[in-house]
């Protein structure tokens, strides 16, 4: 049962929504969080034009894309990348939710993140997150954005679990995922060859109840 005070506050906030600036009203609501705003980051729309520019910029850093993806890493041209992301956006399957990651203090776009394959009879999805601005690595931006993606997965899409895969040579990511509550579920042995060595693919998963217990 809601208290009388909170009901009044709720009515007041509803009135504010209809008459005034939505931004203030939503944060006034007693029970709902703003799904897209975390402590350090905000999830904003995936814009193919902006993503193309970012991909061109970030792809000059071969290490970033090697940490992010198993495809051969390549410097990318902004116009061609924009075309690629436009085409991909037109073919997006229902159940794919790409976002850009923004640092709210200066509105800079710092990374990308996505939930994929979320619509199936099995109530689970894959998540991916990457912070392209390397001077921001190790400062909690990726974890904050990943937590926003998980909140979206568990409290808006109402999924049962979320999967992710990363690489043995990315221990910083593995530690961050462990801290959020992801559980190691296995290693695909020697499935990558990079820098002249074989590495495992590391797979982790988190169930809704695990994430909710960690975020109570």
């Amino acid at each position: 049962m809601a208290s009388r005070e909170s009901l009044i506050a709720y009515r007041v906030s509803q009135r504010v929504i209809s008459t005034s600036d939505r931004r203030y009203a939503i944060s006034d609501m007693p029970t709902m969080n703003n799904l897209f705003t975390g402590k350090l980051t905000r999830l904003v729309a995936f814009d193919p034009e902006k993503m193309g520019e970012l991909a061109a910029k970030w792809s000059r850093d071969s290490e970033f894309y090697q940490l992010f993806d198993s495809d051969p890493t390549l410097p990318r041209n902004a116009k061609r990348a924009q075309e690629h992301f436009r085409e991909r956006a037109e073919k997006d399957r229902a159940g794919d939710f790409p976002f850009l990651v923004q640092a709210p203090q200066d509105e800079r776009l710092i990374g990308e993140g996505a939930l994929m394959h979320a619509f199936s009879p099995h109530h689970n999805a894959w998540v991916a997150i990457g912070i392209g601005e390397r001077e921001l690595w190790g400062k909690g931006y990726g974890s904050d954005a990943l937590n926003l993606l998980l909140r979206f997965a568990f409290q808006e899409l109402n999924l049962h679990r979320v999967n992710l895969g990363t690489f043995e040579y990315n221990p910083r990511a593995i530690r961050a995922y462990e801290k959020i509550g992801f559980v190691h579920e296995g290693r695909v042995r020697r499935s990558m060859r990079r820098d002249g060595k074989r590495w495992d693919n590391v797979y982790m998963g988190i169930l809704r109840e695990e994430w909710e217990n960690a975020n109570r």
Partner: protein, 186 residues
């Protein structure tokens, strides 16, 4: 002399022939057990039209990098199953295998084992891959035993990743390395 890759003792590998095979494949999709043992997607019967469309979509999705075989009996040239390799990462020598024997009457006769031996040889001695992956489900004990028997190892157990018959089951990922296959076949 090079070895014959498509001729086994009891079976052979053939190309998918939309005119002939779609009809047979459509019949298999009317058996929900076959679908639920091999597919992650919701089980549903597919008309020959949709079988053809699905094949074309898989081919397109793989950007042409799609090695698909229909398994036919040598005795009476019947289509009894399929085996395919896709999602090849050439830079890492890594790819994914999927296979199935369609009708219950054709299972337990060694057709699957021969298919596995031939597709592994194709993966490791023609595509020159370094490893293969294959997925199955906690409830498919037959597939798990089959994979272990052929030298695969269970590498990933995705907890509660599949919801069927009112409960969650683990999703399993198996793998085999070329060197393991070579050691066992020398």
């Amino acid at each position: 002399m090079l070895q014959q890759l498509f001729e086994g003792e009891k079976i052979r590998f053939a190309a998918f022939d939309a005119e002939k095979d779609a009809e047979v494949f459509s019949k298999w999709t009317h058996d929900p057990e076959f679908l639920r043992l091999t597919e992650y997607e919701a089980a549903r019967p597919l008309a020959p039209f949709h079988i053809k469309k699905k094949f074309e979509e898989m081919e397109k999705d793989a950007h042409g990098d799609f090695y698909y075989f229909v398994i036919r009996t040598k005795e009476d040239d019947r289509a009894i199953g399929f085996a395919h390799i896709r999602w090849i990462e050439w830079n890492h020598g890594n790819a994914r295998l999927n296979m199935g024997i369609g009708s219950l009457d054709d299972r337990g006769k060694g057709f699957g084992s021969e298919t596995m031996q031939m597709i592994l040889r194709y993966a490791f001695e023609e595509l020159n891959l370094y490893r293969l992956s294959a997925d199955t489900f906690e409830y498919n004990e037959g597939a798990q035993k089959f994979l272990l028997k052929h030298g695969w190892q269970c590498e990933v157990r995705r907890r509660e990743a599949v919801y069927r018959d009112g409960r969650y089951w683990d999703g399993l990922a198996f793998g085999i390395l070329a060197e393991e296959w070579q050691a066992a076949n020398r």
